[in-house]
């Protein structure tokens, strides 16, 4: 296809899209005024299941199956990254160089670390009560751990990050979601139906299975992000290409494993 034809194909497509998009825009309900029929029903459903945060109710109750799909996307994306960023046969590992961090920065990072972790856990735990939830809190929790990389260097982070545990945690989070879904089937309802008692509105025990699924997503996301960043950090800090040979090799090729076998337990 010549560039002229491509341009015409693009112009025809763009014109068609513009016409349809403009037509659709005129049919939209007025901005932010009329209560949307879906919104009204979602709020009603959330309150009837004692879930104060309607978004959590939509994510983990009304559309729990969609969320299972989203969780699986993250899960498989992390697995894909682990496979892609493994240590290749002709690459070798070297110990990361220690860094001396400016003392105020180190103190700040070390003091923020437990606090950030607490905030992350708070956001996960209150997913069904206030804005937030498993995904948001999980990412904050995983970020908290990486403050140790900021406070010092990759060695320090490796010491407090038993990667195998996080790999198990990721799988366990995904599994817990599916198992909760099948528990509803065993209880005689459809897959992922909210079968647990709903509890009191706006408390930690409210929301029935929404609360359980939220916690499962929290575990999956925390572990998933830690594993993901571990692969990126390994590649950027430890693993060297065949051409590079500054520093002392820790491990020279052979096996082509992903490096787990030689990592000492923390």
């Amino acid at each position: 296809m010549s560039s002229r034809v491509r341009l015409w194909v693009f112009l025809v497509g763009a014109a068609g899209f513009a016409a349809l998009f403009a037509a659709a825009c005129f049919d939209l309900p007025a901005f932010g005024t009329v209560p949307h029929p879906y919104g009204v029903r979602a709020v009603h459903a959330a309150l009837s299941h004692h879930t104060a945060n309607v978004i959590a109710s939509v994510n983990f109750d009304l559309r729990a199956f969609d969320t299972l799909g989203e969780e699986s996307i993250l899960f498989s994306a992390v697995i894909g990254t682990v496979v892609l960023l493994r240590q290749a046969r002709d690459e070798h590992r070297k110990d990361p160089e220690p860094a001396t961090v400016h003392p105020p920065v180190r103190r700040f990072a070390l003091l923020t670390l437990p606090f950030a972790l607490l905030v992350g856990l708070y956001v996960i735990a209150h997913g069904q009560v206030s804005p937030g939830g498993g995904f948001q809190g999980g990412v904050v929790t995983a970020t908290a751990l990486h403050l140790l990389y900021i406070a010092a260097d990759y060695r320090a982070l490796e010491r407090v990050r038993p990667l195998t545990l996080y790999e198990i945690g990721e799988a366990a989070g995904e599994a817990a979601y599916v198992i909760t879904g099948f528990a509803a089937v065993l209880a005689g309802s459809a897959f992922l139906t909210n079968v647990l008692p709903f509890g009191t509105l706006a408390t930690l025990s409210s929301g029935g299975t929404a609360m359980v699924l939220n916690a499962a997503v929290g575990l999956e996301v925390t572990s998933g992000i830690v594993v993901l960043l571990a692969r990126f950090l390994d590649q950027a800090v430890e693993i060297e290409d065949p051409g590079e040979d500054d520093g002392s090799p820790r491990h020279t090729g052979g096996g082509g494993g992903n490096g787990d076998d030689e990592r000492e337990p923390a």
Binding site: F108, T112, F115, A116, S130, P131, V140
Partner: protein, 144 residues
């Protein structure tokens, strides 16, 4: 103009201050950009606190809480990779003047209680984060 409109109008001040910051982030020197990044999270935290009050949603304060924790973290990540942690009086003074000017009226409006302590905690975090990341840290926070 109602009181909630007043809070939202106040939120407009730090929001509009983000316009020149964007310019510096996009076209400034590496140092300028890092200062801009630092300033962005600080101003965003203030906007969020004021907006939460303006919308009468105390739970929106959680968003500001997350900014106050993750904002400085982001700045320190950039500092580590760009190898600069610029000394910035602008950030320091924005934090030392802007945060109390925002948080104290909010505390008065909230009244004593745990919600007020939470506001003070977020304010303290915003100040601490900004002061540490704008101090005379030398190179990248890493004195190798």
């Amino acid at each position: 103009m109602s009181t909630s409109d007043g809070w939202l109008a106040a939120a407009l001040v730090p929001l509009l201050a983000l316009v020149p910051v964007l310019w510096r982030i996009a076209y400034g020197s590496p140092k300028d950009r890092l200062i801009g990044q630092n300033l962005t999270s600080l101003l965003a935290g203030l906007v969020l606190l004021l907006a939460a009050r303006g919308f009468h949603r105390t739970s929106y304060n959680d968003v500001a809480l997350v900014v106050s924790v993750l904002g400085p973290t982001g700045t320190l990540i950039y500092a580590r990779f760009l190898d600069v942690l610029p000394d910035s009086r602008l950030v320091r003074w924005t934090a030392l003047a802007g945060v109390p000017a925002t948080v104290l009226p909010l505390c008065v409006a909230t009244g004593p209680g745990r919600a007020m302590v939470k506001l003070l905690l977020i304010g303290a975090l915003l100040i601490a984060g900004s002061v540490v990341t704008s101090g005379r840290g030398g190179k990248g926070g890493v004195t190798a």
